[in-house]
Amino acid sequence: MTRTVTQGRQTKSGLQYSAAARVALILFFSALGAIIMIPLVAMVLGTFKGGAELWRNGLNLNPEFSKWSLKSWRYLFTGVTIEGELLPHSYFTWFKNSLVIVLLQTTLTLFISSFVAYGFEMYEFKGKNVLFMCVLLVLMIPFEILMLPMYVQANSMRLLDNVWGIMLPFLASVSAIFFFRQYLSGLPKDLLDAGRVDGCNEYAVFFRIMLPIMGPAMSSMSVLVGMGAWNSLLWPMLVITSMNKYTLPIGLNTLFTPYGNNYDLMITGSCFAVLPILLLYVFAQRFIIDGMTAGSVKG
């Protein structure tokens, strides 16, 4: 699964080499891109117009440069409000909490889920099919149904108001297990026997041989898991009670309250919150398609 191979396969589906088609395609995708960018552009414009303006005139694409100021952004970074008073906020505490959780949760989920997936794909054992049906069952059930008993469970395990409480139920992620198993099924198994012949035990085969070649699957999954962790709201909101442990979505959500009047922070903070996951994507995107090709979609 090297870069050159994928490059070689790049050009395959059908439209003809014609100048007209080329122009038409570019035009079409530019138009689509422009439409997709509308909400984001409106949001970025909004950060310069300030929170109060959003409620007065609504969010729109009218740049209204005369109303521009960097004061909302200044508030985000310095805690000095539009009016010029110092009103410290906790945005970057939330930001840091979210970063820590995303890093931990992504790393652990990838590791644990690939570990489990390896077990499912590489061995025949009693109860395997039943257990894998359980994986599919969990995939199909909306988590919201189980939220309250899960909360009670998390409490009895002393996981409330604790970052582990946010992560623990999701570390053996079923979608990641499913995905990794698909990926592994596409890999040659003789590698394992070669490893065993070399004297690796069952676990060393996984750690030394399989883990390193799962790179592409790991990268595409890292974006999906990282995205989920970064954006997750309902469960963290239940688990966390102290303000200094809030994650970013919880924090942003508290700014939505009609009683807070903190819309400058809300709009700039929302905009800024897209950044880390965007960076992660830019960093990992070259692997994403490769990983997906070999992963979830083989049916």
């Binding site: 891109g33 309250l148 139920p169 929302s270």
Partner: protein, 301 residues
């Protein structure tokens, strides 16, 4: 110590060690909560008092018009999003993978940005774009055509439009990616063979790409059905809360949330949840059977 080591390292035991994390999570965070949910659906639960009420929660559910509306809304939303988010992203993916397409990488990244935007942020942005204020984006578009501002979120179809657009906006890029990945695994020789047979672009799509994309399509369909039926946060964010005009934005999970967390009727909420669970499973399994994803090839999954 060595006994333990030998035991753990034996080829018989190793697979169980590998799947242990899942089994533990499954037991603690799934089986137990699911069992409690089933038990609670036969109870009337209020703080400090629990009462067994037999099937009365289910009986109430059957006669509950608002629940019927929630089911209708969720199913309609699911059908529309499936109808939009499968063919179009597939077509776009086919077009963008074309040889004539320049800067495909740039566009792919561009379309993926909404996927990365959280529901909280995206929902807020859409809420403000669809606001009833005359200056808000959607109303200013109407203004361009000389039409008066309307209450976007207070009308059945215009509020549905907001939800559908939000969903399409967020997921077109993702689904395109799934289809592009699926297309990559189609051997090039098949296209070449089709070309030799004189197939044009359209025929190549209908005769090669479409049939061979079936596994991908089934996968995307499955997750879309699931996501459509379980939709809640989008509606919650776009309407500002879980109370929407005429319950236009009420979904099954929203109804569960209303009874479980807002009205504190956990027993009834559990019955709603189990109804959703059964519904989602029936639809998914039916879909998998109809499309042939399970059955003969079942063991492969």
């Amino acid at each position: 110590m060595t006994v333990v080591r030998r035991f753990l390292y034996s080829k018989k035991i190793a697979p169980y060690v590998f799947i242990l994390p899942f089994v533990l999570t499954f037991a603690v965070f799934f089986i137990y909560p699911l069992a409690s949910t089933i038990r609670m659906s036969f109870q009337d639960i209020l703080p400090g008092q629990v009462q067994w009420v037999g099937l009365s929660n289910y009986r109430r559910l059957l006669g509950d018009k608002v629940f019927g509306q929630a089911v209708f809304n969720s199913v309609r939303y699911m059908l529309i999003t499936c109808a939009l988010l499968i063919p179009f992203p597939m077509l776009f993916a086919y077009m963008i993978s074309s040889k004539s397409m320049k800067s495909a990488g740039f566009f792919k990244s561009l379309y993926f940005v909404p996927v990365l935007t959280s529901v909280v942020v995206a929902g807020l942005v859409f809420r403000m774009m669809f606001s009833e204020l005359p200056g808000a984006l959607m109303n200013s578009i109407r203004g361009l055509f000389g039409k008066p501002a309307i209450y976007w979120m207070k009308n059945e179809y215009s509020s549905l439009l907001a939800l559908i657009l939000l969903c399409c906006w967020r997921w077109t890029g993702m689904n395109m990616l799934y289809f592009m990945a699926g297309m990559k695994s189609i051997p090039n020789e098949l296209y070449e063979a089709a070309e030799i047979d004189g197939a044009n672009t359209v025929r190549k799509f209908t005769h090669v790409t479409w049939p061979l994309l079936k596994p991908t399509t089934i996968y995307v369909l499955t997750i879309s059905i699931y996501a459509g039926l379980a939709m809640f946060t989008e509606s919650y964010m776009v309407f500002g809360n879980n109370t929407s005009p005429h319950n236009y934005g009420l979904t099954i999970v929203g109804y569960l949330y209303r009874y479980g967390f807002e009205k504190l009727r956990m027993g009834y909420a559990s019955a709603v949840g189990l109804a959703l669970l059964v519904g989602a499973m029936v639809i998914n399994v039916a879909q998998l059977y109809i499309t042939g994803a399970v059955g003969p090839r079942r063991t492969k999954v």
